[in-house]
Amino acid sequence: MIEMQDVHKAFGDNRVLQGMTLTIPKGTSLVIIGGSGTGKSVALKCILGLIQPESGRILVDGKDASKGDRDAFLARFGMLFQGGALFDSLPVWQNVAFRLLRGSLKRPQEEARQIAIEKLRRVGLKADVADRLPAELSGGMQKRVGLARAIAAEPEIIFFDEPTTGLDPIMAGVINDLIREIVTEMGATAMTITHDMTSVRAIADDVAMLHDGVIQWTGPVAQMDASGDPYLDQFIHGRAEGPIEAVR
């Protein structure tokens, strides 16, 4: 279970999170939606400790995320970064198997490579990309390599920052199914950021909408359409008119 309690984060005078409170029960899939630049990526990075919030608490299984053994903490997580964040000096398979080639989860090289190829297959990439460098792949392929890397060590908690942006609709469907599968079959806890409402419906158990630095609405995906919340309604229907100013 992950809890964010009254988390605040500003960059200079740009106040991004202004008291974000959110709970994600173990083994469920939460999707965060919200306008561009509202701080969704920042929220994920706060939980991982990549960004230090000014105030508020972040608890994972009841324990303060900023205290205790960092390595053991991070070993439970997988993260797909919005920009992929692949290591451009390493071939694709070594990116995917990064964790399996060093540190506490280290395996023999050949085994790690087989796991990497299997994970690549699950995100719809053929074995022949394994030995290419990330810079030789298309944007959507890089994204999927990032996804394969996030799930390679079968973490308990997985964060996906816009997993389907830049993918064709069929591949987006494959990825949505994969994320759903990871949650239902492996019992992982997932937090996904997406702008794609089809993905929201395919992936989410719960939905949370971030607006103006706070969670504007949260609830089960089934109640999303009948929420009566004007912000959420405007967002999911993509209307230019409404309480969220489209021109800033």
């Binding site: 400790g49 990549l50 997580f77």
Partner: protein, 260 residues
Amino acid sequence: MSVLAIPGWIGRRTLAALAVFGRVALFALGAVSHILRPPYYPREIGLALLNIGWLSLPVVGLTAIFTGGALALQIYAGGARFNAEAVVPQIVAIGMVRELGPVLVGLMIAARVTSSIAAEIATMKVTEQIDALVTLSTHPMKYLVGPRVLAALITVPLLVGVGDVIGIAGGYAVSVQNLGFNAAAYLTNTVNFLELRDIVSSLVKGAAFGMIASVMGCYYGMNSGRGAQGVGRATKGSVEAAAVLILAANFVLTGVFFSV
């Protein structure tokens, strides 16, 4: 603006500079402590040794040979004014070993290695690769900074040694070919004149400059701003800082070794 604003400005600037100095010093200490503690990354260390050491040899060799040659010509011409042409081997030897070898190699390393370390790490920072490393339970100080600093500490003194030898060889070639020196006498004069202290100071300077060059590259890279502009600033800043610090450290080390 009142007159008092000026000392205020100077004071603030001084404090800011001291704060940066402190951060860099802590960064360097952190790097060293990560080098000493496991886990170690042999592949990264190997690549760093190759990039910083082996691949720097051509530029170091060329710089040294031309400098040694020019030095011999100058000393011959200058010495001729008071009939002291014969000192060429001795002055070339101490000139190269004590000062020019370490300083030129240090500056070449700042140009070649500091810039590439800073640009590479800054790009990794800007594209979230550093964040990705952290989430994959790998400490960037250990994985990126440690191997580079270690490799520089090992290879830059060796490069300085090579530069010293090649520089002396450049002076020798010019002296024997163009200035009519006797080859055997030139070598004996060189060898007899150099003291152990000269060689030790040369290598110690090499280690210090290697440390400065690699730490500045890593520090600026890890603290890069966002975007392509951030990478550009980090690279420029790292080379400027490394070059100036190398020259300052050279002055201090020369004082330490030769003022008595």
